[in-house]
């Protein structure tokens, strides 16, 4: 079949759980051209943080950037504000943050594993992993008070302690997962049909991963040992010395395909279990918050001036929040979120080219996209009723203009 035609995947498609559009140029079953269109879910979260909310309210707003990474985003934002306002975090709080972040990683990776299995039509594995995931959700509920929105972060610490009972439950839960881990590994890495669908599918070479700045498991599966927990440790990771997981740890070879991404994620679940056990054993005692009085904290943030960047290794990759505070103003003067999916969407193009239509869902899912995290500016010219997206060239031009203006003002 020499005739080519275009298949739109998205914005609404069973394979994509959130709105994003892929235009596929297809010849028969083969994909010969891919284009990605983002910006269907711009929600103005940053705007609310900069105009309506005070910083404390923004914690809970940042939690809602993404339903799954709702430890990473607040943690990242809180870190940025702590840097900007120079708040020192007590050590115990750092450990609790680490445990919460790793619990989230376990739940996110198990969720991803289920979704990936569903994308290749293996619903049994989907239901099975999600059933196993319930245990970590119950643990999270026990420790933080809710299954999904954990609301545990606060500027200068955390809001809840892990008490005796909680630690006991956590240890039991980790034991359960260490036992079940072998079964999950057996299902995912040894099942012939899963291997058939994922081996040598959606290959991202090391060069492409570096060139397109892929982050998280996506880039680690291509053999780039890039992990914020290892490179720029935050919270309690500095004491543990995390090592980035690349697929060659498992079987000594790096393909950069979907199978390798499964390997990386599963090994990370195991790593998370180890980190949680380590953190529980080495947790120091002490206060939870740098400033217990919330009213005083609020005033302090209002007076603070400065800027800070928070970097967190979310389950999907590196998450960055930039926050700028201005004295006398309650809302953030500036707040920019760069979620990991933003970097992981462009690698779809080299992954999909030359593949089949059947590969689209699993390849797209293999980067664990979270479209609600990702946003891009759509500028609407109201007068001309025209909508356009800011391209790189236009952005560059604007940046040059602004730099010139700043330089002129500086003089």
């Amino acid at each position: 079949m020499s005739e080519t035609y275009t298949i739109p995947v998205g914005p609404l498609h069973p394979a994509l759980h959130e709105p994003i559009t892929l235009k596929l140029e297809v010849s028969g079953e083969k994909i010969i051209g891919v284009d990605v269109f983002c910006s269907q879910v711009h929600r103005g979260i940053e705007w609310i943080g900069m105009n309506r909310n005070n910083p404390i309210q923004s914690i809970y707003l940042s939690e809602r950037v993404c339903g799954i990474c709702n430890i990473c985003h607040p943690l990242c934002m809180v870190q940025a504000v702590e840097k900007a306002a120079e708040i020192e975090v007590p050590e115990r709080a750092e450990y609790i943050r680490t445990i919460a972040a790793e619990l989230e990683r376990i739940h996110s990776h198990l969720l991803w594993a289920g979704v990936a299995a569903h994308e290749i039509g293996f619903d049994t594995v989907f239901h099975y992993t999600w059933a196993l995931r319930e245990n970590v959700m119950d643990l999270i509920e026990y420790l933080t008070g809710n299954r999904v929105t954990k609301a545990i972060m606060m500027f200068g610490g955390v809001r809840r302690d892990i008490k005796e009972n909680g630690a006991k439950k956590l240890r039991e839960g980790m034991k359960f997962y260490l036992e079940k881990f072998r079964k999950i590994e057996e299902i995912f890495l040894q099942d012939p049909t899963i291997k058939m669908r994922t081996r040598d599918v959606g290959i991202l070479t090391r060069e492409d991963a570096l060139k397109l700045c892929a982050v998280g498991p996506t880039t680690r599966a291509s053999g780039v040992p890039k992990d914020v927990r290892q490179d720029f440790p935050y919270a309690a990771y500095g004491d543990y010395e995390v090592k980035a997981i690349t697929p060659d740890i498992y079987n000594g070879e790096v393909h950069g395909d979907v199978y390798d991404r499964i390997v990386v994620r599963l090994l990370e679940v195991k790593q998370s279990i180890e980190i949680i056990n380590w953190a529980l054993d080495n947790m120091p005692s002490g206060p939870l918050l740098a400033e217990k009085n919330l009213v005083r904290l609020k005033m302090k943030l209002k007076k603070a001036e400065g800027e800070g960047i928070g970097r967190v290794e979310a389950p999907r990759g590196e998450d960055i929040h930039y926050v700028r505070l201005k004295a006398g103003e309650e809302p953030f003067f500036s707040w920019k979120i760069r979620a990991p999916t933003y970097n992981n969407v462009l690698p779809w193009i080299p992954m999909l080219l030359g593949g089949q239509i059947a590969d689209v869902p699993i390849v797209a899912a293999s980067t664990d996209p979270c479209i609600s995290c990702l946003n891009r500016v759509t500028v609407v010219d109201v007068e001309k009723k025209k909508e356009f997206q800011i391209t790189k060239e236009y952005m560059h031009k604007l940046s040059v203009k602004k730099t010139r203006r700043l330089m002129r003002n500086g003089r």
Partner: protein
């Protein structure tokens, strides 16, 4: 290999908690009426852990109306209102009759972060373990705290 696993699962009890009933009832209201009449039984939900963040409880009498909770509420679910009861207030100009400030919480807007509970200086807010809050009307009496 899932082939071996499915056989084991076939004879295992399903993991699902069958709340509120094994199959969705044809008519929910009818089902609830039958439950109240004792004709049907609800399968209990998974128990909530201690310190669960459910529907908010408000002790109106110890509230001083400082309004801090409304300031930190991320979803603006808390409204500051005048109390229905008038009391004698003592201020610089002497005693006068006034309605003190109280709050009204719209649970349908609440995001259950418990930030107001943390900031309340009089500890008159508390999260309960009630979580079955679905309702057709977001301004229903059961979704406004304090109740009428």
């Amino acid at each position: 290999m899932m082939i071996n696993e499915v056989w084991k699962l076939l004879f295992k009890k399903p993991k699902t908690n069958k709340f509120p009933a094994k199959y969705a009832p044809k008519n929910v209201h009818q089902f609830l009426r039958r439950v109240q009449g004792g004709k049907a039984k609800i399968v209990p939900p998974v128990p909530t852990p201690p310190d669960f963040r459910g529907k908010i409880r408000y002790d109106i009498d110890s509230c001083v109306g400082c309004g801090l909770c409304a300031q930190v509420c991320p979803s603006k679910a808390i409204e500051i209102v005048r109390d229905k009861k008038w009391i004698i207030m003592h201020c610089k100009e002497g005693a006068k009759l006034a309605a003190p400030l109280k709050i009204k919480i719209y649970v349908s807007r609440c995001v259950f972060c418990a930030q107001c509970v943390d900031i309340c200086p009089r500890k008159c807010l508390k999260m309960s373990d009630e979580f079955l809050l679905a309702n057709e009307n977001k301004l229903d009496k059961s979704l406004i705290v304090p109740g009428p």
